[in-house]
Symmetry: C2
Subunit: 394 residues, 2 copies
Amino acid sequence: MFSVKEYEERLKKTKMKMVESGIDVLLISNPSNMYYLTNYNAWSFYVHQMMIVTLEDSQPIWIGRHMDATSVAKTTWLDENHIISYPDYYVQSSERHPMDFVVKIIDEIGHSKRKIGLEMDAHYFTALCFQRLLNGLPNAEFKDATVLVNRVRLIKSDQEISYMRKAASIVERAMQAAYDTLGTGVRECDVAAAIYQAQISGLDECGGDYPSIVPMLPTNDNTSCPHLTFSERRYKKGDFLTIEIAGVYKRYHAPLARTLALGEAPHHVKELSKVVQEGIEKTLEVIVPGITAEEVERTWSEAIAKYGYQKSSRLGYSIGASFPPDWGEHTVSFRTGDKSILKPNMTFHLMPGIWYESYGVEITESILITKKGVEPLTQFSRDLYEKPIIETAL
Amino acid sequence: MFSVKEYEERLKKTKMKMVESGIDVLLISNPSNMYYLTNYNAWSFYVHQMMIVTLEDSQPIWIGRHMDATSVAKTTWLDENHIISYPDYYVQSSERHPMDFVVKIIDEIGHSKRKIGLEMDAHYFTALCFQRLLNGLPNAEFKDATVLVNRVRLIKSDQEISYMRKAASIVERAMQAAYDTLGTGVRECDVAAAIYQAQISGLDECGGDYPSIVPMLPTNDNTSCPHLTFSERRYKKGDFLTIEIAGVYKRYHAPLARTLALGEAPHHVKELSKVVQEGIEKTLEVIVPGITAEEVERTWSEAIAKYGYQKSSRLGYSIGASFPPDWGEHTVSFRTGDKSILKPNMTFHLMPGIWYESYGVEITESILITKKGVEPLTQFSRDLYEKPIIETAL
């Protein structure tokens, strides 16, 4: 947990953005934002819950399911007056909806006629939640505040950076576990199990945490499908694969992807890997505070265009503390049109994955913008890894 | 993958429910429902995607991000005319939204003035998705169809049951791994890592899959918080804990929870465990096809009330194939007011967890409704497990 002072500072910055946006009351559905403001970290986001920040109150109010209220009291800095729970008969009911309960509370505490910010595109803020709030609060004025808190999260504190460094050490260990486990006859799920073991146990000095995205390790022509997870298939000599995983410490993520082969990789995979590596190096050379997100992408595009390649998807995105189903912060992206200016203590997943119809290559880095430039958080060779085949007499 | 015939049968049942509900076009956001109808199984649900079922078309249409289209082509029974992708600049953009693209497609294929069903309360169908559809399709008539496909999923095919039996064997192995790893000085994350290793590697004859909920293993007074995950804390003699996990095979889940202690458990935990076990036995005795969901709960309530206990949350819920953040099907719940009639090949997580202010007990079963009664899918002792302490000289 961070100090109460740090949480208060985060809340203060949130309120400043609320004032800028003309919002009196902010309703937070995004579990990453709840965690950021209060340390609330339970797997309770599969039922509806809500955090209410008002300009006047010195603490957010949590509203959620009765059985989860104890975990809020035990793990956050909220006092008991700021923890309100609804009975279990509101859960997944065709008659009652948790937002009806939230409406009642908002009315009771006198905010039903105010300017209310909603995280309109947050994963767990469903259409029905919205409809119930609209119906229940006819005199409120609603505004979209989807990434309001996310934008506060962009620049990390030193303690947050120290967590991400631990996450980076964990992902190095997890990627090494994958390298060590890969072999002919081994199943994809066995490599995934070794990755998980390393991710979750973490290091001797700090335990791991679950990642917001599961290991993705497509093989051969499935490398054209970046979001396939893993199967029961057994590896054969000549297979190539991409592995995209993250290390996590107290919800802070450091993602990493690499490309591997069992034995020799196909020529086109080798060629593309070299181009991607050179592109990463060129890109890292130009990153300094003060440049824009789109400039980062432009450098990359030029570096690979020289060899006749192009990448149609964004080159990366802001990262930090997060909950499933995504480890991205949904704010700054390295792509044309994103004119956000890079600042020290921002953190990104530099994601130069390239996917064609029949193959793909992924070699990525979690990076920290420093005062003078940029620093990869992980130290792990970017080379395409061609694992020697050990011939065994069967 | 199931046979195309089975997918067509599922689609036919979905269309029948659409007709019953007065719906011409169904928009599906729930990844579990996408998977159920087409075998689509990639971790792509963190960006917006949509499946369109119309009464006329013999296949659903998938609309999603360009980089994911290849995985739909490779893993589902949809032909290329039913796979449509949007460019990457729609992803997490403040200017463009994927639902604007979906609107365009719905208009192009002539459905903009029809009766359209929406999964209003599905996790990834956000308020903004809804608003963009409303704005983009002013002549459509929208209806809530949140659990329309979920209700088709209620009764499992024999192949689905066989998957859940494999999942049950996997969760037995994962729970045993937790029992074996627990010890003084061991960290919570080390037990979680052992659980994961077993869940993901699965069995020799079938590989595991990732569960929709991560291992939850709160200790001591945190057992009052069912949805806390795990920490770096080291176990001490006298600790007691609950473990709730699932085994998964091809997305089909078999959850299981148990209560453990390192050495002797506190008296009140032992007492409550006995009551819960007796309650489970009494409940299993009455379950037969034809009774209602609320009757199951009533038997349980009476069994524990005899000893002065009560449980305020539902006693269980329907389970099957699912994706994060939940392994429940969101249809039938064992609770007062749910008059759904139990039928053969329905499957449930019988979830008699009881949580007080300072402690909780969880002993649960995944169960199958058979032609004549009920069958627990797992064979794992329900006794409170008091692990002997091995004294080592340090």
